[in-house]
Structures are given as C-alpha cells and as structure tokens.
Symmetry: C3
Subunit: 337 residues, 3 copies
C-alpha cells in the first residue's frame, strides 16, 4: 500500500507514469473510483486543494467528505502525552484512524508549526499523522512539502514544452506581509532539480532555504543532470531563465523569532515581481505561482495579467495530477488487501 | 454558451421552456448531468441556495463543491488594481478562473456593497465576476438580482393558478432590524411585471425602489400587458390582491448612510404583515416571502402558519427551477464547444 | 413512514434486523439509495456523525448536503411565538420543512439546552423539530438521546462477543473541564439494559442520571433479563465487568446552575480512567467511549493506547449502523407513499 507524502518516495518511472496518466485524465473520462470515498482533513484553510480534490474525486466516479477542525468539528490536539484540558476536545490519535475508517483514501493538510525549524524540515508532525492512518494518505501540504503542487507544476512545465535538462528555473522569494511556510519553495526546488533543470534560488540575505532542503535538491539535480545554486542578484539570477516561480517564505535564519523575522522582511517590499525582472530572461519566460497570491505585493498586475503568467493552467493541473495519484493509491491499496 | 445572470437576458419562450422543464423535473428523474461538477462560490451566507443546488445537482446525476471565502478558504479581494496588503489573501481574478477550471458550471453569490447605489443597481461587481469565468455562471444573488428566486416564484404562482394578465401582485416593504439588499425586491417586481401582472410596490416614504429598477419593470409590464405602480397606502394597495410578496429592503433614499437609514427605519415597526393586511385583498390572497424571514418582525405567526402562506412550496421550487437552469446551461455549453 | 428518533420506538426484532443488516453492509456493497439525498442539519459541531453519514450515504449510491447554522448559514430560532429581533434570522419552522423539501431523509443534531432538566429529559425540542419534517428524521444527537451511537455500540459488543444476558456493563462518569450533555450516557444505559446486560452506573454524588432515564433503563432490563443499579464505589462497580463505557456528563443535581455544577465537578479530577480501574474487572474487559475524548483528563493514554480500547472500531460501526437505518427509513417512506 502506497502513500503520497512526497515525490522523493516515488521513482522516476512512477512519476512519469503519474504525469502521463494526468495528461490522459485531462481529456478522457474515468470511473476508476466508483463507490470510493476520499476523506479530506484540513487543519488549515484551502481553496484549490479542497475544490480540485472534491471535483477530481467526483470525476472519477467517487465522492469525498471534508472535516475542518475548529470549523464545525472539534479542535484537534497533535502533541503526544499531554493532559488535554485546553481548547482541543479530540486528539489526532483518535480522529485520524476514525476518519480513515470511513474512507478509502485520506488527504491531510497540516501546515508548519513555524517554531521548530528542525522538526518542520524533517516533517515530523506530518509523518506522525500519516502513520496513524491504515489507508493511503495524500499530503495536502505539510510543514516542508506539497507534492500535489509539485506534480501539477511539473505537468505545467511539460505542457509548455519548457526544457528539462538545460531548462533554467528560478525560484524567487517575494515580499509578503506575513511569515509564510517553507513547504511550497521546498517542493518547487526539489521537483525542478529532479526534472533535470538548472535551478537558481533567488532570495535576500537570511532567506536561504534550510541546508537539508538545498542538499536534497542538489542530490536530485546531480542524479538528473541539472544543477542547484543560490543568488541574491536578480539580474544575474534571471539571465536566460525559462521559468520564474515566485513565492514568499519565512526567513529560516529567524525561524520562530517573529519579531526578528518581521524586522528583516520589513525592508524588502521591493521584492515584488514586475516586468522589469524579466529583462535578462529568455524571451518567453513563464511566470508560475502556487496561489493564493497577493497582487501588487508579491507580483504586479502587469505580470499576472500578461501573457507570461500561467498561474491558472498551473492551478488547473492540480486536479489532473491528483486524479492520477488517487487512482494509483487506490490500485496499490487493492493489491495490498 | 449561456449564463444565467438575470431573467432579462432570456426570451419569453426560453423562460416558458425553463418553467415547463422545472415542472417535469419535479416529477420525473433525470441523469442529464451525470459526471458533471457544479462549483458554488458563496461570498455570503446561504441555506436554501446551498442545499437546493447541492441536492438538485445530485438529483441530476452530478455533484458540486462549495467554497466560502473566510470560512475555511481565503478572503477574496474584488477591487481592481489594489495593493493587497490587507486581510484578503487572494483576488477573484485568480480565484474565479481557477474554480471554473475545476467545474462545468459555476454559481456565484455576491451581495451588494450597500454603499454605491449606482454601482449596485448596475450590478457592476457581479458582471465583473461573471466575466472572469470561462464556464457558464449562475447568479446565486447579486447586488440587484436573484433570478433563481424569481424563476422559482414564477413557477409557484403558475402552480397556484394565480392569473397572469389581470393578476394583482403586491410587493410590500416590511420592517427588519437590519438594512437589507435590494436584490429580491428588484427581482420580484421584474418577474411579476414580465408575467403580465398588475404590480403595486407598497412601501413607506424613502423606500421607493431605484428609478432604473422601476423603469425596467414598467417596460416589462408594457410588453406583457400588465402595469406597475407605487403606493404608501396599505388598504388601497391591497385591494383585490392575489399575491402579497413581503420583503424588507434598505431605503434607497439613504443608500450608504447607515445612520440616516437606521433612523428612517426605526419608526416603521408596524410594517409587520398581519392578517389585517388582507381585509381588502382577494379571498384566497397568497403570502410569499423568499426566506429567511424574521417571525413577528417581518410577518406575524398568524400569517406564516395560516393557509395563505406558500413560503415552503415557494422555497421547494428553487430546486426544480434551478435544475432546469443547470440542464439548459450545460446543454448550451456543449453546443458551444 | 418511520423516523429514527430513539431505540425505544423500535421493536427487538426491528433492532436485530438493523444490526444484522449493518453487519452485511460492512462487507457487501449496496446501491439501495442511488439518486437519494440526505439532508444533514447540524445545530452543533460534529466529526464522526458528519463524516460517517456522508461516507455511508455515498457508499449506498446516494449523496448528502450539510447545513450548519451560524457557519455559512443563518442562525436558527427554535422558540415558538417569539419576536425575532435578535441574532437568529430564520426560524426552524421554515428551515426544517424547506430542507426536508430538498431531501429524501433528514438528519438533525440539536444538543440540550442545559437549563431545563425536565424539558431536556423529555426531549421536547427535538420532538418539536422532528415533527416539522415531512420526511423521515434521524436523530444525530438530541438533548437526551443518541440512538445512532447506541446502535453502533450494540454492534460493537456483538462483534466482540460480549455476553448479552449475564454480561456486565459499567457506565462510568469521568471528569471533564466542561459540563457535558446527558444524551450519550442516557443512550448507553438504555441500550445496554435492553441488550439484557447487568448494568452499573458508576458516578460521584450528584451525578446520578435523571430518575426518568433510570426508570426507562430498569424497565428495559426487566423485559430483557438484565438489571440496572448505581454505585459510587469503583472497585465494587467494576467487579467482573466485561465493558467499561466512560463518559462525562453534567450533574443533574445542579442542572442549569453553572456555578454549583462547576464547583461540584472541580474536586473530581481523579475520575480519569486508568489501568488501575480494571483490577477487579473481567480479564479482557473492554474500554468504550463515544469520542471525542480528552486524553489524560477523561482517560489515560495507557488505556486508550492499550489492547482493551475499542474506541476506533466502535466509531467505525457508526457508519454501518447508520447505513442500515438509512436503508430502512427510505424503504418505509417508499411504502408509505
């Protein structure tokens, strides 16, 4: 029985098969999951993930239910061994096996704590949650990964014929009024490296991704014929770029220190992607973002409303990538049982 | 490809076909939307619209998903060109095309701003939102219209054999502790006029519907053989009435001036519909209200619990009217593609 | 047409048929409710009930919709005859018939008021709500009953081969930081008595269940060949027990007096179930709880994580028990119509 917790647990052949199947599902109906039920546990808000999983599951002939702790369901405790005399009325040690007992597959979203960098980089909470489920688990975004997003992003680049080996992928930090998680940038740098691209992480001082994340990306790049480097110089980083993937994230250097982090971010409001960023890029350099995105804070209207933005097809690909994953996990469960 | 934004864009023949189909769907199963997905975007609360669309879509063999910004999904920005450094994390310019990309049809609810009468009467926001969707859009209530309600109301009067030409329809303002939108009264006066009825808008001073709304209703009445007039005199307005449609709405005369509007409303608590209102009406005059309704504030128990109230069958007709619309829009989309 | 408001309205033969059918549905697919729609009205939070009914309805080929007043839908008024000038925008007298008009079956959750013991013990509100529905109603937990839980609990004991006559069932009060409803303990004592077991209610002074609840249980026990008694002595109560069913509940002696109740509860923190409680019990005594449960407040980790806890299979049985009820009510409706 397989889970879908990260791309790293899936071989190149398996990922290519998922991508190929996603392309087929984009154009061809399937009733592979007729009568099957997907449980969706959202510890944090969602728009795309919620809508695309519910729609995708329906399109495969199945159905889904949604549980949102604190929004019509009990607040959930995740810490082990605690005396639960606070707001949480239920523990994940009961909630997850119970929800799994009603479902054939279980999706879980649990964002980072934002306080313990080591724990978050190791995705400790998410692995603890996933281990509680007797049915296949899909990571709907954890502390350090968002594999459904990464698979959709990969398909998006394939759809656009962006080169694999030799393709230049820039992941750029952008300003945001809040300290945001590391999950999407970690997933993006990992999938682009694994796709064989030449990856540059463009970010201000203090915003370098955690060494463990960079090391995983460098290993993936080495195996795939690509490369990974970091830069603070926008013009140099963007030179010849085929893809600019923008995202804000919290400063790992100040992880868990909200005041210091906020102070570091405060002076970086000019990290808002505009057309001028693309001067040294390849002519048809694409703009990607996982959404939601704050207009004229993270990226200017001129980019989002212009021809290089592919954020809507990128989001649309979430559905097809996830449908391929749902089919595959269900098949793996049936073989196991 | 058709949208369902208002009744005005639909010809008499088309409306009659929808009403006829709604009547058939009330008694005959259909699987016309098997495998189809309806996206529902609720910027404001709902009970009937949510339940009737979800149930109706299921009864047609399809399914639906629900997104409620600020309730498990990101707050959405609707203004163009703004710097998004406030609470809204996502713009409708991304959210709507993305949700539409997961759906075959998209329903949107977006109430009036309540501050700019001209913009609300022109339904500027809603038309801007609808224009962002590449799939057919259904108006689940906008600033100035609620066509699903109007179609259900029309069916309700047909079901009850209320006369078209010569039928006397009174839309009456009623007291409510809050300033409520103009959408339902505007939709009601419009559909009743278009149905060929003699329409009276009964309301206190300052609560006359906007001139553009009245003018549209007068045009519709002229074409259909009916009439539209206004009155402040309850006994006179109700004379010979076949239908009393009650609804509270904000004072257009004080639009956007909460204090003045509240002061004007404060002395009108006697505008609570009771049996005494029907003294001069036709013998079996019916009581309609779109719901939700505040008992003994908008209307007394004696009316709601008495034989003239048809508010439950009226609400039930929402489902059948909407099922006819869903089928029709899906067919129009398939022809277009 | 049948409702499922309590177990008392169902004969032994009928209950046994439901339990048998639940066992079949655990292993065999059914499409008995294809095209049918279940409405779910939650006046209070839920995790298991929401997920198990949505999944169960899907597994039977049908679908469901969820309305949560105050969470995306209007607050509902339940009192009769009031002037609705407070927060509630809609009355259950409209909301329930309307939701029922979109559904084939209607589930309703409405917890106790907690202020009027007599009204709550008689389940006055719930019977008033159920009477408003023209379609079969399922009690998703009312002031004094939770028959879906009781049916699932009964199946759980059957699955484990816990003896009926001669089986020793202990319902124990446990500490909790909040005053909790009487519904689950009332349902548990009733089903265990009806199953023919020897039932002991173990609870501190002031926490004795209402006399009407005890009397109903004693009658059921008399008819089924079992017994019902009360005790404050843990060691004595647990002697030879086959089942410990733990649950916190408010002190009936202080019903509606929050301060006195809180004071009475404050000194009872040692009523947290631990392994030491089982010293005099039967060797393989099982631990049941309806969930959600506060770990190390109501029960220690050592029990929940040990071999005697069956809380997850117990929760899983909710789905199969409810599927049997859904099928049965739908069949009864079709015969009636």
């Amino acid at each position: 029985m397989r889970h879908f917790l990260d791309l790293a647990s899936w071989s190149d052949d398996e990922l290519h098969a998922l991508l190929e199947r996603a392309g087929v599902l984009e154009h061809t109906p399937s009733t592979a999951l007729t009568g099957r039920v997907l449980g969706l546990l959202f510890m944090n808000p969602s728009l795309r993930t919620l809508a695309s999983f519910q729609s995708g599951m329906s399109r495969l002939g199945g159905s889904s239910f949604v549980i949102s702790p604190g929004r019509g369901s009990w607040e959930l405790e995740t810490r082990l061994g605690v005396v639960m005399n606070d707001v949480a009325a239920e523990h994940v040690r009961e909630a997850i096996p119970v929800l799994a007992s009603y479902a054939d597959l279980l999706g879980i979203r649990a964002f980072a704590s934002g306080t313990d960098l080591q724990a978050d980089v190791e995705d400790r909470l998410f692995h603890q949650l996933a281990a509680l489920s007797p049915v296949p688990v899909i990571n709907l975004e954890s502390a350090i990964d968002h594999p459904c997003q990464a698979l959709a992003d990969w398909k998006t680049l394939d759809d656009l014929d962006v080169p694999r080996q030799g393709g230049r992928f820039v992941l750029s930090w952008a300003y945001h009024p809040k300290a945001l998680p590391l999950a999407v940038p970690a997933a993006a740098v990992q999938f682009a490296a694994r796709r064989g691209m030449d990856v540059t992480v463009l970010r201000p001082n203090g915003f370098g991704l955690p060494e463990a994340v960079m090391e995983r990306a460098r290993s993936a790049a080495a195996a795939a014929g690509g490369s990974v480097r970091e830069s603070e110089d926008r013009g140099e980083a963007m030179e010849g770029a085929h893809v600019l993937y923008a995202k804000s994230w919290t400063a790992p250097a100040d992880y868990g220190d909200a005041e210091a982090e906020s102070f570091r971010r405060a002076s970086l409001r000019d990290w808002c992607v505009g057309e001028s960023w693309f001067e040294t890029a390849a002519k048809d350099c694409r703009f990607l973002h996982c959404l939601p995105v704050r207009r004229n804070v993270v990226v200017r209207d001129e980019v989002l409303d212009g021809p290089r933005s592919v954020v809507v097809p990128q989001a649309r690909n979430r559905m097809f990538a996830q449908m391929a994953v749902l089919e595959k996990l269900m098949a793996s469960k049936e073989i196991a049982s």
